[in-house]
């Protein structure tokens, strides 16, 4: 399946006229766009444009004052983060938000929480059903660890890992949720070229092989242009452009507000 056909998929998520303000600060003003099933959708814009806030709105951490969000055909203006998670929205964070006291393995296992069901009683015994469930999910997690090539740090507490690896573990944790929509907030910040390449590969593989829809915030324009099917550009909370990478790249407003002339 090629990504161009993906882009023609049905709409998975639509953001409609969303506005969000914190006291006097308007983080997002009347922004609408959509994400289609199976595409890689980039969100770019200068610092403070409201990109992260947009993701926070999508997965229910912020509640917009205005506007609606339609996800998988359901329209809503308000939902709780765990609901978003249970409907298949996973994400990574701009400032790494791993569970610092836990090992890589445990972090990723947390991603399986929603899919594990054995209650307190079996957990207390551990042997029997709880153990079997644990091992099933462990297997799945090991696949992810394999995929991301982080076998060596399986048992290391994540707090001590270098930044780049932390980002990778975070991706792993999101993958463990087997999401339909994956929100990535600057997954490649602070990485060198090689690591970026690795990351790109993971993203593409995900998209291609598992059909995961991806919303991507990234400041590396090279990455954005190469990976994404469509790009939405925000500035000061407003949407200033939306289209294919080529269109956006040529848009003078975007050059002016974001890219600068050098790119």
């Amino acid at each position: 399946m090629s990504s161009t056909t993906n882009a023609k998929g049905e709409t998975l998520l639509a953001v409609d006229g969303v506005s969000l303000a914190f006291g006097g600060v308007k983080a997002i003003t009347d922004v609408s766009f959509d994400i289609r099933k199976g595409e890689i959708r980039a969100i770019i814009g200068p610092n403070g444009a409201g990109k992260t806030s947009m993701l926070n709105v999508i997965n229910g951490f912020y509640h917009p004052q205005q506007g609606r969000i339609t996800y998988k055909g359901q329209t809503r203006s308000r939902m709780r983060p765990y609901q978003a998670a249970s409907q298949g929205i996973a994400r990574t964070f701009q400032n790494v938000a791993l569970f610092r006291g836990m090992s890589t393995l445990d972090n990723i296992m947390v991603g399986r929480t929603l899919r594990m069901h054995r209650g307190l009683f079996w957990q207390m015994l551990r042997f029997g059903p709880a153990m079997r469930e644990e091992i099933d999910h462990r297997r799945h997690v090991e696949d992810i660890i394999d995929f991301l090539q982080i076998e060596a740090i399986r048992k290391t507490p994540v707090g001590k890992l270098p930044y780049g690896l932390q980002k990778r573990v975070e991706l792993g944790r999101a993958l463990a949720m087997e999401p339909e929509l994956l929100l990535l907030d600057e997954p490649m910040a602070g990485m060198n070229m090689e690591e970026k390449e690795d990351m790109c590969r993971y993203i593409l593989d995900l998209n291609r092989h598992f059909g995961t829809t991806i919303a991507l915030i990234e400041h590396d324009i090279g990455v954005v242009m190469d990976l994404s099917d469509r790009v939405v550009v925000l500035e000061y909370g407003h949407k200033i452009a939306d289209g294919t990478p080529e269109e956006v790249k040529a848009d003078p407003k975007v050059i002016d507000a974001y890219l600068g002339v050098g790119h």
Binding site: M124, R126, A130, I135, R138
Partner: protein, 358 residues
């Protein structure tokens, strides 16, 4: 050199996720169990059993309970002694209302009462965090203690306002009351503590434990992983209070054998919290180590001058004990802020690479 995991390969995920994956650790555990179950009761003096080991085990159990809340879920609580009191008074009421049922059953059941109360006082934890929550749980501490004083029904209208423990048996052997020998009481306490520690270990190493730790480390991210904070926190409160409740019941029934409300005062809450911190937040072994440091160490220091034949006045010994224990706490913190359990871990790690420094 001797502490190496070399050559021990894990064939299955089950083996790999065992609590003690390294062989030497399992030997160590077996030795400790042997000492606890055989050596100490055989050769220990009554003092060792009644004043060192029983309190130590009970406090450890309380510390485990608190550790589940503070160490694993990151909810600071200063109401521990109150919850312990609930367990004790519940056991007292139940065992006087239904004397025919075995006391041990009631001791374990009492945990449910404190779990209930714990959940109730855990409700604010959704909004209140950190030290603020600690102080909010003080409301529980003081309110509960006040109830123990004021609600005469709780202590069967005894004029002294204290609860007294009568002699009860298990399989015909006295386990509470004046006839229960320290050895008997020790075995009961040890049994309860070992089983409950095992259960706690199972819980914290499984899904629920991970949920708690996720809430502790980054509650926002945990939410976005699909964890619902309130149920997770309340479950932690419930389990934690259950443990504390049982510890409280054990404390009155197998250690003190009569207790005034002041047995559950704020000092105990603080002490347990300190045991948890110095032992190691989020470590079950740490709970034992912390209890040892804070309960056993002073006893040892107090006993020192006498066993060395130094004529030091009792009060001076007490002063010095304070001084030394305080100093040692600071010392240990500086050596390893993350507690004795971590210190132990690092020592093991050094052992592993020994004789090379790193």
């Amino acid at each position: 050199m001797f502490y190496r995991e070399t050559g021990q390969f894990k064939q299955s995920y089950a083996a790999d996720s065992a609590v003690f994956p390294i062989l030497q650790d399992r030997y160590g555990l077996a030795i400790i169990m042997a000492i606890a179950f055989v050596l100490i009761p055989m050769f220990g003096s009554e003092f060792l059993l009644a004043s060192v080991m029983i309190p130590f085990l009970i406090l450890s159990l309380g510390a485990i309970g608190l550790n589940i809340l503070v160490g694993y879920t990151g909810l600071l609580s200063l109401g521990t002694a109150g919850f312990m009191g609930v367990g004790a008074y519940a056991t007292y009421k139940l065992s006087t209302l239904f004397p025919q049922v075995n006391i041990l059953v009631w001791i374990l059941c009492s945990g449910f009462f404190s779990a209930g109360i714990g959940v109730l006082f855990g409700l604010p934890s959704l909004r209140i965090k950190g030290f603020y929550l600690a102080v909010a749980t003080l409301a529980a501490q003081f309110f509960l203690q006040w109830c123990f004083v004021r609600v005469a029904w709780l202590y069967n209208y005894n004029p002294s306002g204290a609860i007294e423990v009568s002699g009860r048996t298990l399989f015909g052997i006295a386990i509470t009351g004046p006839m229960a020998t320290p050895v008997n009481r020790y075995y009961v306490v040890l049994g309860v503590v070992v089983v409950m520690t095992l259960i706690a270990s199972n819980i914290v190493h499984g899904r629920i434990g991970r949920t708690w730790m996720a809430v502790r480390d980054m509650d926002i991210a945990a939410q976005l992983m699909g964890i619902r904070l309130l149920p997770a926190k309340l479950l932690a409160f419930a389990v934690s209070s259950f443990y504390c409740g049982v510890a409280g019941a054990l404390m009155v029934f197998l250690w003190l054998s009569a207790a005034e409300p002041s047995a559950f005062d704020i000092k105990l809450s603080f002490l347990l919290l300190f045991m948890v911190i110095i032992g190691g937040l989020g470590s079950l072994i740490g709970s034992f180590m912390g209890a040892a440091l804070i309960h056993i160490l002073p006893i040892v220091i107090r006993a020192l001058p006498e066993s060395l034949g130094l004529p030091v006045a009792a009060a001076t010994v007490e002063h010095l004990t304070y001084l030394i224990v305080g100093g040692l706490i600071i010392f240990f913190l500086i050596v390893e802020p993350h507690g004795l359990a971590r210190l132990w871990q690092i020592t093991k790690q050094k052992l592993r690479v020994w004789p090379f420094p790193y």
